[in-house]
Symmetry: C2
Subunit: 201 residues, 2 copies
DNA sequence: GGAATAACCATACGAGCATATGGCTTCCTC
DNA sequence: GAGGAAGCCATATGCTCGTATGGTTATTCC
């Protein structure tokens, strides 16, 4: 049911996600949707929460993989961040849903709460990565981790917007993606200039 | 009339900007609004266009002032960019309106066109500033101006999001603004490391 | 000065929506 | 096997919205 909601919003915006449309898309009746969700707001909020959870889970898995492979933190971050970019149709859909809810967050406090929370989590994880980088020698010790996390998370979000405007698959899109990746790499390089000095045991 | 629309959207979101509400807010009848705008879409698009025009005009004035005062390009950019940040109630309102339309742009091509165009203008102006910086010695000649503009515009947009989440006026807000300004200053510093070598005549 | 054009209004209409209501079935559980 | 909860549905209700309609009052221009 949340999947149907996601699909509708991704395809035609929040306004298209009516109770009737969700029910039809999910193959149920309107009444059943009401049976599980007391109101439309509840349904939307649930769908939104679930999507952000999925995103964060994917990122967490990538982090775990990177750590298992003993990759430097810089490389792990470089691998994770484009997970939030609209690089294929699935992630373009997520981007659209996220944007729709960001607008809704301006007026609906419960949505704003979720948006704020996920943003805080992302920034916190980046900040922790920078702190870890200090310990293992990738990051200079005087670096302000919070400030770095602020810049990096802002940059990711901003680049996502720029990337979305170019339709996927074209040559212009490929060039843009290259540019965005290069920017991210550069910026990560400026915050993580060193080599990890930990040795495999 | 566009002002009334702006006010409503800024205060309560796109959904609150109904024909009746706009008419009431502007002190006219619904019929008169219809007389000037063939459809609601037309009204919304006009209001959006006008707002972006206002923003770009303000920026252009700041640029002109900075050039008249022979300020270095880096300083002019540092002065202009926060113009798009939600630093006071007026600009918070503009931010909300812009966000609402960005979401709408996902589904309405005419809105997407305007959003895309203004984004292109902003990026183009930054790129031109970088090119100018090369000529006067502030920027290293091998710098990729398009890439720099991409990063800077993404950074501004991303930082705007981060800034908005903190309510204005608090101490947390002031700290965040400081941090955002510091980041922007740093980044401008990395793209504009030199001094202008032009002399006053 | 008269006709056409523009400014301006109240109200009607019809569609779409969220939600409420009252039901029917299935499946546990005591 | 009675009964009650949970799964499931069709339809009614009432509201809000964009737009259509048919006007009246100014203004302008020949």
């Amino acid at each position: 049911m949340a999947a149907a909601t996601h699909k509708l919003i991704a395809h035609a915006g929040l306004d298209a996600a009516t109770m009737a449309a969700v029910a039809r898309e999910a193959g149920f009746s309107v009444g059943l949707v009401q049976h599980y969700f007391a109101s439309k707001d509840e349904l939307l909020l649930f769908a939104y929460k679930q999507m952000t959870e999925h995103q964060l889970t994917r990122v967490a898995r990538k982090v775990a993989e990177g750590e298992a492979a003993r990759q430097p933190i810089r490389a792990i971050l470089l691998d994770c961040m484009p997970e939030l970019w609209p690089l294929d149709e699935a992630r373009r859909g997520e981007y659209r849903v996220a944007k729709a809810f960001h607008a809704r967050a301006l007026d609906v406090p419960t949505v704003a709460e979720v948006a704020r929370e996920t943003a805080t989590v992302v920034r916190g994880q980046i900040a922790r990565a920078v702190e870890n980088g200090k310990e293992c020698g990738e990051v200079e010790v005087q670096t302000d981790a919070e400030r770095a996390a602020l810049e990096l998370s802002a940059l990711i979000a901003g680049l996502a917007d720029e990337l979305y405007s170019e339709p996927v698959g074209g040559q212009g899109a490929r060039a843009l993606i290259k540019a965005a990746e290069a920017i991210l790499e550069d910026r990560l390089g400026s915050y993580f200039p060193g080599e990890c000095h930990h040795h495999d045991r």
